[in-house]
């Protein structure tokens, strides 16, 4: 056993002060990754700053964008009438994360800040040209994700909300691991007029990434057929006990075809 402090501030300002008073403190969002990690003793921070009391769970349609608070639970996004109306693909994505227990606790901000290479949300952030609003700045999705489990976030920075740009149309299709429901490969396709963005999660060794070849193929012809000639290379893809890199490369194309079909 070791002791750890737990605090639950009422605002992000207080949360930032609390983290400064700890030497190796951690922000706690939904805890769906952090708590199992602590139980396994794979991390032993000297304190947890629970940000669930910081009122960061609002969901608002702001015209061109849909703004979702970082502490919005997956279940809230999945069931929100506002999300279903503005970006139905995002509600669908949230509805497919983990199991019911995870969806009841897990949060948008927690998933995005953790940037697990197999998490669903980062693909939506990247494909929907989202802007990540933190406690001190706003970051474009393209600058936010920097590698496996790595983001542009500083240790003492909190995601407050994320603004997703409303697409003309969008879809998310994943091939879930049957046990964990993590994406073995997940593809988020978003069309903005002539522009198409394709973000792939679950497959890249560096975490979520955009697939330029498929983006340009779909920009000129938005159909599953246009993808047939695209070659998906397996270099840089994850190879683990669940699937080889080659298998994942094949899944990327298959999931993208299903997403645009």
């Amino acid at each position: 056993m070791y002791s750890t402090k737990y605090v639950k501030p009422n605002s992000t300002t207080e949360a930032l002060e609390a983290i400064k008073s700890l030497s190796e403190g951690k922000f706690l969002a939904g805890g769906m990754t952090l708590i199992p990690t602590l139980k396994q003793r794979l991390a032993s921070p000297d304190g947890l700053v629970d940000i669930s009391g910081c009122k960061l769970d609002s969901i608002a349609d702001e015209g061109e964008t849909l703004k979702i608070g970082a502490m919005a639970r997956h279940i809230s996004v999945a069931e929100s009438a506002v999300v279903k109306m503005a970006i139905p693909a995002l509600a669908k994505l949230a509805d497919g994360i983990g199991d019911r227990q995870v969806r009841n606790r897990g949060t948008l901000g927690g998933s995005v800040a953790n940037n697990d290479p197999s998490a669903c949300y980062p693909s939506a952030v990247l494909a929907l040209k989202a802007t990540v609003h933190t406690s001190n700045r706003s970051l474009a999705a393209d600058d936010f994700f920097t590698g496996m489990f790595e983001t542009a976030l500083e240790e003492d920075e909190i995601i407050e909300s994320i603004s997703f740009l409303k697409p003309t149309k969008a879809n998310y299709v994943k091939f879930p691991n049957p046990a964990s429901r993590y994406a073995m490969v997940g593809v988020f396709v978003a069309q903005f007029g002539d522009e198409v963005r394709v973000a792939v999660t679950g497959a890249g060794e560096g975490g979520v990434f955009r697939h330029q070849e498929m983006e340009s193929a779909l920009s000129s012809n938005f159909s599953a057929d246009s993808l047939s000639s695209v070659n998906i290379v397996s270099d840089g893809l994850i190879s683990d006990l669940h699937a080889s890199a080659e298998y994942r490369a094949n899944l990327i194309k298959e999931m993208t075809k299903r997403a645009v079909a």
Binding site: T37, Q40, R41, L42, S118, M148, E205, D240
Partner: protein, 153 residues
């Protein structure tokens, strides 16, 4: 597990070999190395704090050099225990091959890594990617240090 890569450096083989045997150089190259002390010609004591995603574990262990063939290469093996989290070890076969005109040297490496215990259970899907990333970090910063030193002042 099959992680390989190589770098071409505009330096003579002896220079790189000297750096490969300089613990200050190694310390700066090992990602998150907090302590590195030479115990003998071939053994160093090390403390590394590994941070991957939500995991953050301090490993204490040793680094040994074997198959030493100056100045052509060696095998560098690191193994450490992370307390209740488990244990990790990895070794890299490093080879130096000088170009015929001696203007450059190619450093190539081949890594194998193993993890045991809880860290293996929880992180199994990420071990390959993590080992690759750590190898790239190590050799990347090793090469960068050499290049920086070589820059004209």
């Amino acid at each position: 597990m099959d992680i390989k890569d190589s770098y071409e450096l505009p330096l003579p083989k002896e220079r790189i070999w000297a750096a490969l045997n300089d613990e200050e150089f190694l310390k700066k190259s090992i990602p998150w190395c907090e302590k590195l002390e030479r115990r003998s010609e071939t053994e160093l004591a090390a403390e590394v704090k590994l941070k991957i995603g939500p995991m953050s574990t301090r490993f204490t262990g040793s680094i040994t050099l074997s198959d030493i063939d100056p100045p052509n290469g060696y095998t560098i093996t690191g193994s450490g225990k992370g307390g209740i989290a488990g244990a990790a070890s990895g070794s890299a076969k490093v080879k130096l091959v000088e170009a015929k005109d001696t203007s450059s040297t190619t450093l190539s490496y081949e890594v194998s890594a193993q993890v045991k215990g809880k860290i293996a259970q929880l992180g199994s899907r990420l071990i390959q990617s993590t080992a690759k990333k750590l190898s790239q970090n190590f050799f990347g910063s090793f090469v960068k240090q050499l290049e920086d030193m070589d820059k004209p002042q």
